[in-house]
């Protein structure tokens, strides 16, 4: 990557992090919300008579939930906020493409989500004495990378979709929890009825997460991991291709109307 590109990425990430951390309450999305879901999971487990909750799904799953919530809200509300504040026109009119800006912003949002996952791991280890013995480290790391890649592809797709469709934050409200339900953030996908499992098969996060859970639980096999990783990569690339197509539609609309604010 050329020097100016790296500088662009760094500057964009810097701006995005500054915007996000201007308000410390936004960190609640990354910490408190997943903690609440994990808390419900732990107490439900107690209500069912289990002495110890399943930490991979209940606590670390809460961290994945925080990553996803942070991403879905920032990626959709970034565009809405730009539109409201009048900065969307400036971004569209700048020499850096809207697609590039969205890609870097979404990457920053995904990386910021690791804060939530890291906190979940710390809680699991320090509070619940989660043991790292038996974990497939390589499998877990590759799976985590693929989860981040899948989230990045979906985030870029959503950002472009919001710009093109002019839909509002209500979409984010509708997407946040259903994806968590379908991908099995807090439980294995096998808990879902067959038709829901069939729908979830189209979401790349589900496959990467399935591989991560298997690696953390120590019951992964090379075949299972490869199969899940392949599905995750292919579906992520499909979302990325769709977002490129939508980006073209966004720019077409601007050219047709001759107005930067038409998106």
């Amino acid at each position: 990557m050329r020097k100016w590109s790296l500088r662009l990425v760094w500057r964009q990430m810097d701006v995005q992090i500054r915007i996000r951390t201007l308000n410390w309450y936004t960190l609640l999305i990354f910490i408190l919300q997943p903690a609440i879901f994990s808390g419900v999971g732990i107490l439900l487990s107690r209500a069912a008579g289990n002495p110890v909750p399943n930490l991979v799904y209940t606590v670390i799953g809460g961290g994945i939930m925080g990553m996803w919530s942070g991403l879905v809200f920032t990626s959709t509300f970034d565009i809405t906020r730009d539109r409201r504040d009048g900065t969307l026109e400036l971004i569209v009119g700048s020499p850096t493409s809207l697609g590039m800006v969205e890609a870097i912003r979404t990457f920053t949002n995904v990386v910021a989500g690791l804060f939530s996952l890291g906190a979940a791991f710390l809680v699991a280890m320090l509070v619940f004495h989660y043991s790292l013995v038996g974990i497939d480290y390589v499998g877990a790391l590759v799976s985590l990378f693929l989860i981040m890649f899948a989230m990045w592809c979906i985030g870029v797709f959503l950002a472009n979709f919001i710009a093109w469709s002019r839909l509002t934050g209500a979409v984010a409200d509708l997407l946040e929890i259903p994806v968590a339900v379908l991908c099995g953030f807090m439980y294995p996908v096998s808990v879902l009825p067959g038709w829901m499992q069939a729908i979830s098969a189209f979401i790349p996060i589900r496959w990467a997460l399935q591989a991560l859970d298997a690696s953390l639980l120590g019951n992964s096999s090379p075949t299972l991991l490869l199969q899940n990783w392949t599905f995750a990569v292919l579906l992520s690339l499909l979302f990325w291709a769709l977002s490129r197509w939508l980006e073209g539609k966004v720019h077409d609309r601007i050219r047709i109307t001759g107005e930067l604010n038409s998106i």
Binding site: Y25, I36, V40, A170
Partner: protein, 266 residues
């Protein structure tokens, strides 16, 4: 005296209607339904599957709890937004500068949200019968209706407090939505509150909705008024205390803004 009462009542109803319309008039039916039913429905599904995974075979406790929490969406978030948005949309200075009595102006914010919350539950119960085989054969409907109305009222008391807080901070909505999420753990929606650790259990009894949800669960099982009366009186008291606290907080903020001459810049 009667003229004064009529004036107050008229102001109360008008204020209630305008604030409700102001919150939802710009919305589309899709956005309205997504907010009112979409998020709570999918959150309930998430908890049902979490319950199934850990070994809870009957999801009805979770389903009923989540339905009974629906009025809080109006009472807490709706009421808080109608008050907090006054500042965001620049209307606070007009509100504070008007000679209208503060009681009807402030309390009127809740009326239609209470009714809306009640209707939402009445829509959700048949849906639960259809999808989760909820059996209402034994239910004491009159008592259930009253309990849901009470839950909607008491949750709006908390909405008044959060709405007043929204007038003095830019992060009011973030605080409100975080607290709304915390209710899933604190007020006996997904599991009985006695499963909570000591401090949190005590906190749950200081919150509105805890006793109301308990009473409504008993009403669904066919309980009579006498057996749930202590819970209902407790819920009404907590709701009234929160409403009073919210109103006094609003008056305090108004007084402070007048003294500082800050109004919208609170």
């Amino acid at each position: 005296m009667i003229r004064l009462l009529r004036r107050y009542l008229r102001l109360y109803v008008l204020e209630a209607w305008f604030s409700y319309r102001a919150l939802f008039a710009w919305s589309t039916p899709f956005a309205y339904l997504a907010t009112k039913l979409g998020f709570p429905f999918f959150t309930m599904l998430l908890f049902v599957f979490m319950g199934k995974f850990v070994g809870i075979s009957d999801p009805l406790y979770i389903v009923i709890g989540n339905i009974l929490l629906l009025p809080s969406l109006n009472g807490l978030s709706g009421v808080s937004m109608t008050i907090g948005n006054e500042r965001q949309f620049g209307a606070l200075s007009y509100l504070l500068g008007s000679p209208a009595p503060r009681g009807p102006i402030f309390l009127g914010r809740a009326l239609f949200h209470i009714l809306d919350g009640l209707i939402t539950v009445m829509v959700a119960l048949p849906v639960a019968m259809l999808f989760f085989h909820l059996d209402l054969a034994q239910a004491n409907f009159a008592l259930l209706f009253f309990c849901v109305l009470l839950i909607a009222f008491s949750s709006s008391g908390m909405g008044f407090i959060l709405g007043s807080i929204s007038l003095v901070t830019r992060d009011g909505w973030m605080i409100t939505s975080t607290l709304a999420m915390a209710l899933y753990i604190l007020v006996g929606v997904n599991f009985p509150v006695d499963l909570l650790p000591g401090g949190l259990e005590l906190l749950s009894y200081c919150l509105p909705m805890t006793r109301g949800i308990m009473a409504a669960r008993q009403a669904l099982a066919g309980a009579a008024w006498v057996s749930v009366a202590p819970l209902i009186y407790g819920e009404a008291l907590v709701g009234a205390l929160y409403t009073l606290a919210g109103y006094n907080l609003f008056l305090f903020i108004e007084k402070r803004s007048m003294a500082l001459g800050s109004l919208d810049a609170l």
